[in-house]
Amino acid sequence: MNNSVNIQQLALNLGLSILEYNLIVDKLGREPNEFETYLFSAQWSEHCGYKHSKYYLKKLNSSFESENAGYVEIGDNAIVFKVESHNHPSAVEPYQGAATGIGGIVRDILAMGARPVALLNSLKFGDLKESKVKKIFNGVVSGISGYGNTIGIPTVAGEISFHETYNNNPLANVMCIGVSKKDELMSSHADGPDRLMAYVGSKTGPDGVHGASFASKEFGKEESPERPSVQVGDPFAEKNLIEASLEIMKIKGVEACQDMGAAGILSSTSEMAYKGKLGCELYLDKVPIRQNDIKPWEIMLSESQERMLFLIEKGCEEQIKKICDKYMLEFAIIGKTIQTSLYRVFEKEQGKILAELDIDVLVNAPEFYKNNVVPTSFYINRGRKIPSIEESADSILKRILAHPTFGSKRWVYEQFDYQVGTNTLIIPGYADSSAIWLKGTQNAIALTIDSNEIYTYLDPYEGTKNVVYEAARNLISIGAKPLAITDNLNFGNPEENEISWQFEQTIEGLISASRELNTPVVSGNVSFYNSYKDKSIYPTPIIGMVGEIEDITKIINKKFKETNDEIYLIGK
């Protein structure tokens, strides 16, 4: 198997391009072995590598790629927040897709050392008349309910719209907000050699090992082509992981933390070491596994849920193990940091070496940039005349009101526990934003999540600015001061010219609006390839915004108060 033709073929089957493959060989000065090829295929995937978005995102967010989530300060508190998508999994298995989406974003916030205190979501579905769409809608809502409620984090606000552009590509974006004392935030950077890498959480199984079945069709004789790639969420383990992690982070000698998300062990260990300008060694026999026939590369790439990586000094293992036992979680030391910037994976300590790579080659996926040109569709859209309206206002109004996008969302949000934590000052349906009380103070965090796929389709630049403005208005409407933005950019295939242009325009719009409002973009996420049979969704940037309420007694909601009160319209 270890001859060049096969390795190259494997690389291609795993989704690397020939260009990327050659780049790897070039940078390594040799051909990667089979195991290493798997590592590259995951670490250089769009999902981990941000190949098609890095160039733009750097313009947007100065701290891009440095920590798990961004934050703002309110009083002594750091408010940590981020939004994440789980669009593709939700299309395939709506319940588990949405559930594991929540799990992932919650661990991102947790990894910063913050206790997650609220969830929001933005959901996009196709035409509800289609039975397939209905099934996805039901599944996503009950997945959020099942997972979010069980881990005891309130889902306090959100938005849902229905449009045929999402018929085959639903969007499930979830935003999580956490609170930490400013000086207790956790780093995700390794800060010295010979620190131990501690694995905490559920066991590793073959969940979400992408490309596995695909690759094995070509290569595998013994591999089962039936390997599942759908992850199942275990909210009980997540709840335990939240409590355990917060306890572990209090231990002196615990230096860094990183959740195991996409490409689990591989990306968490390599990025943690790389950010600390170090290398690391891993011993795969130490990883707690769920089934014996799992392969080394599967262990590395597995996206089994509810796992965390901690970097610790020698000597605090026992304390951590005790906490893990208390919370019924696995604990193992799976490796350590080393001074040389190499990424080494061993079958076992002093055993066979499976990979030895320059860590910055592994971690730094190539960056693609296109010279975008304005697509003709934009001019066509811009040239559209306002259609003459024949229908009566009465019947148009009825049609609008009957559209599920404008209907009451009560059926949805009543399935979410929006009150647990008893910090929810504004519950769903009462105002355009929610507010979470920082108990012990007069302050609250104001929260909203917004998008408008029609605007952003017609003009991604202006549309995106509009969404940012809307988010800010929603915060202002309850008396909050907008502070910062997180975003999730849901797009089609970035290799297409039109999509690439849409993406660039969206970023420009975001930069412009966030400067105008003085609300920096502190975190975010990109979801590409939301397309089906070559048809991409409307560009859908989703904006989460966080604001500050200085005095919770001054919060206002949108209910009319008294008869004969006068109504004013402000603006034009």
Binding site: N149, T150, Q415, D417, V420, G421, L425
Partner: protein, 222 residues
């Protein structure tokens, strides 16, 4: 004022413990958290089993909590009538699973989780948990948040005077609109109503919480 000592139990998966803590403190109870493997005798005036879930509720809500050490201590505590026990949500489910309260909690009629405010009426005001309620002002708004909130009980397992609260509009299909019950000795109270969420006007509820008020009155009178 006599200090009322309360233990809030925490099982793996519990999420309502801090809510209970906040509410109890606002009502001037002193509060300790107790992890579920606690097996000493319980030197408290009130034992509070909060909401959330326990062990993921993966078999049935509350089913596995039964095997925690603390349960044996609670059984003794109840038998010897050493104080009061309150179970909210998952706490209620645990108390029925253990057998300290009759009946059981089944999947809501709607097959979905339900989080909303409901109106209930207090119909027995002669219990340690309801003695402060004014008969002319006995309707309250409380929050529910559960998927397994449908209370099921056979008529012959429960006496009329064990029912403290009834729903005005049944949200989940519970037998006889029952929203909160006590055991025969009237020292254990269970409900799916999140009474601990009704503790602060900022959170949309009255300051006055009839249940905490009644408990205080009962325990300080003795």
């Amino acid at each position: 004022m006599k200090i009322i000592k309360t233990a809030v139990l925490v099982f793996p998966g519990t999420s309502g413990e801090r809510d209970a803590h906040f509410a109890l403190q606002r009502n001037n109870f002193s509060v300790d958290y107790l992890w579920h493997d606690f097996d000493q005798s319980l030197e408290y005036d009130l034992i509070f089993l909060p909401g959330g879930s326990s062990f993921g509720d993966y078999l049935r809500p509350g089913a596995f909590a039964k095997y925690s050490n603390v349960i044996k201590s609670i059984e003794k505590y109840v038998l010897q009538n050493r104080g009061l026990v309150v179970g909210i949500g998952n706490g209620f489910q645990i108390l029925t699973e253990v057998g300290l309260l009759p009946g059981g909690l089944a999947l809501n009629e709607s097959n979905t989780f339900i989080c909303k405010d409901v109106l209930v009426e207090a119909i027995n005001l002669e219990t340690p948990f309801s003695n402060s309620i004014n008969p002319d002002n006995n309707t309250f708004r409380f929050s529910i948040a559960s998927r397994y909130g449908r209370y099921v009980v056979n008529n012959n397992e429960i006496d009329e005077n064990q029912i403290i609260f009834k729903f005005l509009h049944n949200p989940n299909g519970s037998s006889e609109n029952i929203a909160g019950i006590v055991n025969k000795d009237m020292n254990v109270f269970g409900t799916m109503l999140h009474i601990e969420r009704s503790c602060h006007p900022f959170l949309g509820y009255d300051e006055f919480n009839p249940i905490f008020e009644s408990i205080r009155r009962y325990l300080t009178r003795e």
